[in-house]
Amino acid sequence: MLQVKAGDMQKMGLLFERYHRELFGFLYHMSGSADASEDMVQTVFYRMLKYRHTFTGDGSFRSWMYHLARNVLVDSVQKNKRSAHHHDVAEYAERIGGGARADESMQREQELATLQDALTKLSPEHREVLVLSRYQELKYEEIARILNTTEGAVKVRVHRAMNELKKLYLRLEH
């Protein structure tokens, strides 16, 4: 990224190749929309180019990327309050290849749908820490850096989020 900052724009391609899936995953789990996430990935990378001078090189590129991604998410939520959350999950299920789970039980499908439902009902703060720790597989330390807080605070928040999710899931299941 420092090379990009120095003016070598084409180095951004390397960063894209390395991180776009991770970024897409985060945005997808946060927004629930693959289409919107693709647009947001584009926006994040555009902002990286435009605001490359703000990258100090102190923190990792990854945390900077998440910082930008969170801002883009906030912007898109404000732009699109009606939040078409998970509306296109079915559409994507086809693309992922329903065949992969064709042998799985109907119950499993049901559980998954319930969990996704529960996830959308979580507050954005709780969903965020769960997505970061469970899907993005980030260490608490890294999450703390992204959220500008302490490791302990992240730990507490993850616990609360998990309890909340569990409650929601169990309530929806029954």
Binding site: F16, H20, H29, A34, Y46, I96, Y135
Partner: protein, 273 residues
């Protein structure tokens, strides 16, 4: 370990983030606590289920779009002038067309020509006789003009104007006969005493001229104002004009002569004889 502590650690336990010692204690607690075992089972279920939530693959256009965006951005960035010295130099260079250079050279040439011409002219004409002659002519013309003006102003009905006319004689360096005649006429005939006094003053300054002296002597018996008579007597003393003794003695014989003037004239006669 109590249930509270155990529940706090369930997630780390599932995450494999628990230190080995804590893990052992938690295992021990779970073995004896069905409540916590249940809790763990539920958490585990959700935790593992979360992992099965699919993440779709982004479509290939995303990559295409990204590279298109990157190219556009890089191009726009390259087109934008960066604020470095080299770019400023480049800008100046781009400004520097042959036409501009020619124009600049031409204007510089004109300026240097002007400067050179100025120096040349100044050196050539520094002892400028013609110039001095011109100035002399001009100043003599101005003198003539002043005389003319003075003479015409002496005819003015306003006493103030006539006073001013008399005062001009101080500025006239080369007083000729016409001016002296005019002044003497004023001294003898002007109806205003003040004008006569000022005229006398002006004539006294011209005392080196014999015509003025004669005129003043002749003016003595013609004056009727005591002020002018006294002033005239003073001028006679100042000029040490012995020829004035005769008219002064004549004045003493005049009837109705002011007493003050009388004593003044007597004093003057004493001083002159």
């Amino acid at each position: 370990m109590n249930c509270e502590g155990a529940k706090d650690r369930l997630l780390d336990y599932l995450n494999n983030e628990l230190p080995a010692a804590d893990r052992a204690t938690l295992d021990a607690h779970l073995a004896n606590c069905p409540d916590c075992r249940h809790e763990l089972a539920e958490t585990k279920q959700v935790w593992q289920l979360m992992a099965t939530v699919p993440t779709p693959e982004p479509r290939p256009d995303m990559r295409t779009n990204f590279y298109a965006m990157l190219d556009t951005f890089a191009e726009a960035e390259a087109a934008r002038p960066t604020r470095s010295w080299t770019s400023i130099l480049d800008q100046i260079k781009s400004f520097w067309t042959p036409t501009l250079a020619a124009r600049l050279a031409y204007s510089l040439l004109l300026v240097s020509l002007g400067v050179a011409a100025g120096y040349w002219l100044q050196q050539k004409q520094s002892p400028d006789v013609a110039y001095r002659q011109q100035i002399d002519t001009l100043s003599s013309q101005v003198q003539e003009m002043r005389q003319m003006m003075m003479l015409s102003m002496l005819e003015n009905p306003s006493a103030t104007e006539r006073l001013r006319a008399v005062s001009y004689t101080k500025d006239i360096s080369d007083v000729d006969g016409r001016v002296i005649d005019a002044l003497l006429t004023t001294l003898n005939n002007d109806p205003n005493v003040n004008v006569r006094l000022v005229t006398l003053e002006a004539l006294a300054d011209l005392g080196h001229d014999s015509r003025v002296r004669e005129g003043l002597i002749h003016a003595l018996p013609q004056q009727d104002s005591p002020l002018v008579q006294v002033a005239l007597a003073d001028v006679m003393v100042k000029l040490q004009e012995k020829r004035s003794l005769k008219p002064l003695r004549q004045m003493l014989r005049q009837e109705g002569l002011n007493d003050l003037v009388k004593s003044k004239i007597e004093q003057t006669i004493r001083e002159l004889s």
